[in-house]
Point group: C2
Chain length 348, copies 2
DNA sequence: CTGAAAGCGCTTACAG
DNA sequence: CTGAAAGCGCTTACAG
């Protein structure tokens, strides 16, 4: 073990390179940036010297001068498997474009979300990609960002009474198809376990659920509809209560894979046969759901694709702005897939 | 839909506030920073005006001036469930300290890793937390960062022939205990499915595996030891080949949960009873492994804790530096847990 | 092809 | 308690 800090060796700047090569700092800057007016010979000479002296370009100085950062800010409610896949998609696109990524988490709190947005603005991010907190019902704070000239792109969860870019699933239809799949399989008393109605994506999914039931002339029972079944505890409590009642449901449609698996486990503990006595379909398509027994049916929300498309949308906006084209808000849909696996494979 | 960009409204600066309030810009800066020499009355007045005019502090300008960034860079090989948990732990600590997070992914490539480190240096990050790529066998590129005065803290995967901070599992022991657990349960022909030997963590785990076998006087067969069983395909190929052979193994110890579950599935397809004919223990403790059937035994690597400790270590270093204390490299161990569940519950 | 000068927006040591 | 001045490290319009 040895002392490792030698902060005294100051960072090399273009001034050091300039002195070393007997040219002006501004010329060094141009040479490093491959400015066309600098001869190839000089560019090579300067760039070689830069490597030799371990020169590191200072992004902060350049960004301050240029007013841009080549950095994108991302705000997510949680860092779980769904959002980390989305982040992976965003990272893929950004790193290809040589853009950096600053990640903030809101923990589903509106206040944290505001703080995160503020931090990102101070950091001069060129764009903000956000999936809103469960508490967020208004887009004022986002409009504030936009008014400061920073594009905001929502992905997955969004504020809808508000015009802005967004990349989202076809939530109503996804849910409709999931429930229709259950109905086609012969399930009749179908539970909806969703998230808070504050979030439009859950309102839409509930609408899809209701549409499928109505279309099939199945009765709609408010006893089977739950809007705040997010936590593990509430999922399990609801599942136990419903499945031990005199008139148990015969299927669950849940807002996450985790909730679906908790229901599956409760049913299993109660000796209920899946899929014959109870069908279960989740949402998300976590990579491990294919290993459960029975394998979990689910909506595949294409989270990585949501992330990719959101990031790509920014680069489209950028291109348009550079061409002085008019930039208008736009919604992009990433259609979800219904994966029908064993947990809904009722023998009819 | 409407046009939303009004980039012409220029950002408000301390000069605007100064003009508005008839004081000097430097005084504004002090007031905003709660400098003790500025009266409470003025601080309030300035801060109120700042909010009114929607002033946004420009971190780049401040950081350039101060030479720090209040930002930490993170480099991970992949954004999977293991590393996203670690990132969640890092984020937790950093956001409490009001530090930003810049995330880069190396895709397990040494070249990408170098590029990521370079980007982070240009961004003036105050510290770099890294879990190295599978290809990385030397710490030169990390030493280069350290020589530039930026602390480097390795977490999970690390270069060992190199003195630096690190936060890691007790890899050798974890593996030893996992394999000892298998042996205690009566398994005798135990397969090791690990990662590349380039990475020390896998070398250590293999050592733990070997130590447990030797201690129990079990024969060591190179046919049962695999160092590059990372991909889904290779896991499955190996599992099929071994399990259909004349002398099949009776247990697997794998370097990830995903690999363990793939083995489990192969065994299931071959009609092999788990845990009676075959025991399986994975690594990671993905949140969904408790829902597989049988439930997966695993090493819990405490990934979130690895992330938390790594970030905390930076703030310890920072505190020491501020106190002019000597800062020496340090290794912190996050002990893994052995979770014994159904997949190794052989009836004896 | 090359350079001098101004400025991005802040902070801080210094002076009053 | 308040301000003038310098400087962080770069880029760019301008001049030659």
């Amino acid at each position: 073990m040895s002392v490792i800090y030698m902060n005294n060796n100051k960072r090399i700047t273009i001034y050091d390179l300039a002195k070393e090569l007997n040219v002006s700092p501004s010329y060094i800057s141009k040479a490093l940036n491959n400015h066309p007016l600098v001869s190839m010979k000089m560019r090579e000479k300067v760039q070689k010297k830069a490597i030799e002296l371990k020169y590191k370009h200072n992004s902060y100085a350049a960004n301050l001068r240029k007013g841009i950062s080549r950095t994108i800010g991302v705000v997510v409610p949680q860092i779980n498997s769904f959002f980390s896949e989305a982040i992976a998609g965003i990272e893929e696109v950004c790193s290809n474009q040589d853009y950096g990524l600053v990640i903030c988490r809101s923990h589903d709190s509106y206040e944290n979300e505001c703080r995160a947005l503020d931090t990102l603005m101070r950091q001069n991010v060129d764009c903000i990609l956000i999936s809103i907190a469960a508490e967020t019902y208004s887009g004022e704070h986002l409009q504030n960002i936009i008014n400061n000239g920073i594009p905001v792109i929502q992905f997955d969860r969004f504020v809808d009474n508000f015009n802005a870019f967004r990349v989202v699933n076809n939530n109503e239809e996804m849910a409709y198809w999931a429930v229709k799949h259950l109905i086609n399989k012969g399930y009749k008393r179908i539970v909806y376990l969703g998230g808070t109605e504050v979030l439009t994506i859950y309102r839409l999914r509930k609408e899809g659920y209701l549409r499928a039931l109505k279309e099939a002339n199945l009765s709609i029972s408010t006893d089977l509809i739950f809007d705040n079944a997010f936590s593990e505890k509430s999922t399990i409590d609801i599942a136990i209560q419903l499945l031990s009642s005199n008139t148990p449901p015969d299927a669950f449609f849940t807002g996450s894979d985790y909730a679906a698996l908790n229901v599956l486990q409760v049913a299993d503990n109660l000796g209920i046969n899946i899929p014959d006595e109870l069908g279960i379909i989740g949402s998300g398509n976590d990579i491990l759901t294919k290993f459960t027994k029975p394998r979990l049916s689910a909506i595949d929300q294409k989270s990585m694709e949501l992330g990719r498309k959101a990031a790509n949308l920014y680069f489209e906006i950028l291109a348009k702005e550079e061409n002085k084209e008019k930039v208008v808000e736009k919604e992009e849909i990433v259609p979800g897939d219904i994966l029908t696996r064993e947990s809904t494979a009722k023998s009819q």
